[in-house]
Amino acid sequence: MFNWSNFVSQCFNGLVLGALLALISSGLTIIYGTLGVLNLAHGAMFMLGGYAGWVAFSVTRSFIAAVIAGGLFMMVVGVLVERVIVRHFYKRPHEDQLLVTFGLGICLVELVRFFFGSLSKSVPPPAPLVGITPLGFMFYPTYRLALLGIVAIALLALYIVLYRTRIGMIVRAGIEDSVMVDSLGIDTDKVFMLVFGIGAMAAGFAGIVNAPVVSLSPDVGEAILVQTFVVVVIGGVGSFPGAILGGLIAGEIISITSMFNPAYSYVMLFIAMTLVLVLRPYGLLGTAGRE
């Protein structure tokens, strides 16, 4: 049954859903674009960021402290993981990279389960953002509205780092042609470490800002990982604007389809991905030759 108020509500909901997907996907796509490593531990990093934030929240009762802790902790974890594990896999086949990051993801999830158990952990939104806001066409959770702004600011910050700084220029150059960047005498080693750290931080940040919406469990990153891959494929592998576009498209497809029949929302998402792969094999904003 179609009604306009529900349609507008779902479009809006798709926007919020898409923004979050965009943020998580951006981390994944930057890492893949620069390092050529498909990070299957990205979902686990999303989860771990949430738990780091939850611990900080439990101690300080401050949501802002939780967000900062979630992001920074994952940056540190990301740098460590790159130095200790991922670095040794740059020259190895893609299958090895997939296996090692997949294994790392399992370890992170089970470590969290060991220490925190499987019972859901909730992080409440900050007091001013509790409750619902009337939008005219519907009532919408205030925190989810705020999330739109939080994600937009985070994406803007990433944009500035990537497009307005020297390090960002190197990263983008690395995405286009890493051999040439190396030949120019730039220390790609450090850049790679930083990129992995930033990617992990984006995942961790998304993990904690999502926690008031979806309460935490060790498996919270599993479903997200699959959706994130779809977003990256639709948007174009390695493309930061592509991740944002892909995220928003995925969010809208899921939401609008579910208005007619929720059971088909993920089917439609995968159909969209297939269409993109057939018509534009490198994704909507991807370019041939990127690896």
Binding site: N6, N13, G131, M138, S255, M259, P262
Partner: protein, 454 residues
């Protein structure tokens, strides 16, 4: 032939011959030596079936559990697992509580120690079947259990029938488990969609009246579809309630916003949430975020262990739910009291209904085996099918031979306000205990055809 023997004999020493002979002799003698210990009187002439009699050759018999320890049903799976572990411990010790249900159990079962093997199914049917297959191949298990999802229960039902190895379900709420997908080798202890609907339906109608509008949330598999159908059938046929929307989501959904947006725009007065495990926790928490709760009245037709603990009692206060067991039944049933005490002592929390279901399933199985005096599967099945009445943690119960469903009461509970809770696990108030006979459909109504014994 003689030429071959002649040629070979040159290199065949007397020592080798003796060794081979001793080995051959031993192999001929051993099965008989074991047979004396493994077979009960009258078992010797029975043909091998499934893992039997290989499963009863040693001092220990094995039971394989495929239970979710990860994913959306992990929390409930861990609780179930503890119920099985306690039951196995009680079988091996000959605990007085277990002996009240299975009086012929001594220490162990028919003189053998019972050992529980566990694998994580993540509530996925294919993984559960694969794991049980491994247990059958490697450990010759004589009983399978597990499921916190009816999709797993139905898959293991079919697998049990094919392999001719007994299966007692873990939590399984689908009508199909002892309905159209019932099997000779499968048995269910707990309540299910139809009995839940027939128990909670009258309570809802009495409390809220006729001609109301309800939104359903349904997980997209056999459990969800059958429970939603049973509840909706009851309410629409008996009280003219209307299902204004049914939001079907895949198991393991994290963000329910698009479903809740539809519900917010549906004009419903009631939110009947059939989601289960973490899906239920998240959908209820998010319904609160959207302001759907407390605007709409929440109903949980098939109770979720730990729901109130995870969402917080503020969200479950006043919520009506149908369940299999709640620990305060200890005030009414002596066996419930003993079970809750034993469980609390070992695990430091009061058992949820999943743990009670697991404990009872194994205790009943121990009863059937010990009464039959044999592990031979058709004999055990026939013991179940006698339909004898026996005591349980919810009073006297019996199995229905036509569909292998336990006839047992359904418990109606209502969430307590935080201020009314007497301790930190006192989440629900028992309103009614509805006898099982009146709640069940006729044995043929859901198309059950059990299949063969052998």
């Amino acid at each position: 032939m003689s030429r071959w023997i002649h040629e070979r004999s040159g290199s065949f020493s007397r020592r080798h011959l003796l060794q081979a002979g001793a080995g051959l002799g031993a192999s001929l003698l051993l099965p008989q030596a074991f047979a004396g210990r493994a077979f009960a009187a009258g078992d010797a002439d029975k043909p091998a079936i499934g893992t039997w009699p290989a499963d009863v050759q040693g001092d220990t018999v094995y039971v394989g559990a495929a239970v979710p320890r990860t994913g959306a049903y992990a929390v409930q799976g861990e609780d179930e697992l503890k119920g099985w572990q306690l039951a196995v411990e009680h079988i091996n010790n000959g605990d007085p509580l277990l002996k009240e249900i299975a009086p012929k159990v001594t220490k162990g079962l028919l003189g053998k120690k019972v050992d529980l093997l566990v694998a994580d199914s993540a509530a996925k049917p294919n993984e559960a079947v694969q794991e049980e297959q491994t247990f059958i191949n490697q450990n010759k298990i004589l009983l399978m259990t597990g499921s916190t999802s009816s999709a797993v229960a139905v898959a293991l039902n079919k697998f049990a029938q094919r392999e001719k190895v007994l299966y007692v379900t873990g939590i399984s709420g689908s009508n199909d488990t002892t309905g159209k997908d019932c099997v000779r080798y499968g048995f269910r202890q707990n309540f299910y969609g139809e009995t839940a609907a027939n128990a909670i339906g009258p309570v809802l109608v009495k409390q809220f009246g006729k001609d109301r509008k309800a939104a359903f949330m349904t997980p997209d598999y056999t459990y969800g579809h059958t429970v939603t159908k049973s509840v909706n059938d009851y309410l629409s046929k008996n009280a003219g309630w209307t299902m204004v929307t049914n939001q079907v989501s895949p198991l393991g959904t994290e963000d329910f916003s698009q479903y809740l947006t539809n519900i917010a725009n549906s004009g419903a007065e009631f939110l009947i949430n059939v989601n289960w495990g973490r899906d239920a926790v998240l959908s209820i928490q998010q319904a609160k975020q959207f302001g759907i709760l407390p605007k709409m009245t929440l109903v949980v037709p098939y109770q979720i262990p730990f729901l109130a603990k995870e969402t917080g009692p503020e969200l479950t206060a006043g919520v009506y739910a149908a369940t299999d067991f709640w620990w305060t039944l200890e005030d009414k049933y002596p066996l419930a009291k003993k079970f809750v005490e034993a469980f609390y002592e070992k695990y430091k929390y009061r058992p949820e209904w999943g743990a009670n279901n697991s404990y009872m399933s194994f205790a009943i199985w121990a009863r059937m085996v010990s009464e039959a005096g044999s592990f031979y599967p058709p004999d055990v099945i026939k013991q179940y099918e006698k339909g004898e009445t026996f005591p349980s943690t919810v009073g006297d119960v019996h199995f229905r031979k036509e569909d292998h469903q336990l006839v047992r009461p359904v418990v109606i509970v209502r969430g307590k306000k935080p201020s009314d809770m007497k301790n930190d696990e006192d989440f629900w108030e028992v309103l009614d205990i509805v006898p099982g006979d009146s709640l069940m459909q006729s044995p043929t109504a859901f198309g059950c055809n059990l299949g063969d014994y052998t």
